[in-house]
C-alpha cells in the first residue's frame, strides 16, 4: 500500500536525484518522407511547411487556407476516408494562437496522420464538413471550447456549453474556476456555481 509509484509528490529536495538532462523545449520530431509526402509536396508546394514523425506518428503542418483542399485530396486520392478527430490546442503566447489538429485515418492503408495548422485568434478557417460529415459536431465543439470560427459551417453554435454562455473554456486564459456569472445568475438564480 505504501508503494508510492504514482505519487507525483517530489521527495524533499535533499533526497532528489541529480537533475536529468534538460529536455528539449520543442518536439524532437524527425522528418517524414514516403510516397505520400512526395505526392503532397508536389500537389501543394508552398502550402505545406513541415512533414514530421514523432513517436512513430506522422503529421504535417499546413497553411490554414489549404487545409480543406488537403483533407479532400487525402480522402479522394489517398484513401484517408475517416476523420477520427478534430481538435485545437491553445498557445496564447504565439502570434498565431491556435493549433488546429485534424486526425485522419485510412481504412485501406491502416495508417493515421495528423494535419496541423496554425491560426490566429479571430481568424476564420474553412469548414471541412463538406468533406467529412463527422466534422460538424467536432467543429462545433472546437468553436464552443476555443472560439475558433469555421466559415461555411452548416450550423455553427455552441454544443456543450449553454447557448448564451460567454467565454471559451478551453482557452488557456480561462480559469478553471471561472464561469459566466451573468448566465449563472440569470438562468440558475444563484450567485455562483461554486
Amino acid at each position: 500500500m505504501a508503494d508510492p509509484q504514482n505519487a507525483e509528490a517530489k521527495p524533499k529536495p535533499a533526497a532528489a536525484p541529480p537533475a536529468a538532462p534538460k529536455a528539449p523545449a520543442s518536439m524532437a520530431a524527425t522528418p517524414w518522407e514516403d510516397e505520400l509526402t512526395r505526392r503532397l509536396a508536389e500537389q501543394y508546394p508552398d502550402q505545406i511547411t513541415e512533414f514530421s514523425t514523432y513517436l512513430g506518428q506522422s503529421f504535417l503542418v499546413a497553411k490554414p487556407a489549404a487545409v480543406v483542399s488537403i483533407v479532400e485530396f487525402l480522402k479522394l486520392e489517398a484513401d484517408f476516408d475517416y476523420l477520427a478527430d478534430l481538435t485545437a490546442v491553445d498557445y496564447p503566447k504565439r502570434s498565431e494562437r491556435f493549433d488546429l489538429v485534424y486526425i485522419l485515418y485510412s481504412f485501406a492503408r491502416n495508417e493515421r496522420i495528423r494535419i496541423k495548422t496554425r491560426i490566429a485568434d479571430g481568424e476564420k478557417i474553412e469548414s471541412v464538413v463538406g468533406v467529412h460529415l463527422t466534422a460538424n459536431w467536432l467543429e462545433r465543439e472546437v468553436y464552443d471550447m476555443f472560439g475558433i470560427e469555421f466559415a461555411n459551417h452548416p450550423d455553427l453554435k455552441r454544443i456543450l456549453m449553454p447557448d448564451g454562455w460567454e467565454g471559451h473554456p478551453l482557452r488557456k486564459d480561462y480559469g478553471i474556476l471561472q464561469m459566466d456569472n451573468r448566465w449563472v445568475k440569470e438562468n440558475l438564480g444563484i450567485e455562483s456555481g461554486q
Binding site: M1, P4, A7, A9
Partner: protein, 151 residues
Amino acid sequence: MRRFLRTVFLIDLIEGLWVTFRTQHPRNICTDQYPRERPKIAERFRGAPRLNNHPETGETLCIACNLCAIACPEALIVVSSERNEKTKRKELTDFTYDLSRCMFCGLCEDACPVDALELTQDFEIASYTRDGLIWDRKMLEEGPRPARYKF
C-alpha cells in the same frame, strides 16, 4: 412454413418464458438483508479514510510529510504540523480530510510512505450536514460511527 408454425404455436414466447421460469427457484434469490446482514466488502475496497495509530504505543504513524496532500487530485487533504524542537522532527498537529469532495481514487494511500493513511472498508460515511463530511484528525483516527440498529 416452419416460421408460420412457430408463429402460430408461440414457440418464441414459450422459449423465452422457459428461461424466465428456470431462474425462479428460491436458491437463486440473492437479496442482501442490509443492515441486518453486513455485506462482504473486498479487502482492497476504498472507503472511509483512517489515520492509523501505532498498535502498541498509540502514537500516530503519520510523519506529516504532506505527500498525500500533494498526491490528491482534488487537494482536499490539509496536513498541519509543527517542528518539535527537541527531536527536530515534524509532528502532526491536525489532519483535515474533506470527504465531500473525495472520489476514493486511492492516490493518497498509495503515496503514504508509512502506511498511516489508509482507505478502509468502512462505507457508512453519510452525514446529515455538509460539515459532517469534513473529517478532522480525531474523526480520522476513530473512524465513522454509523447508527447501529437493533432487531
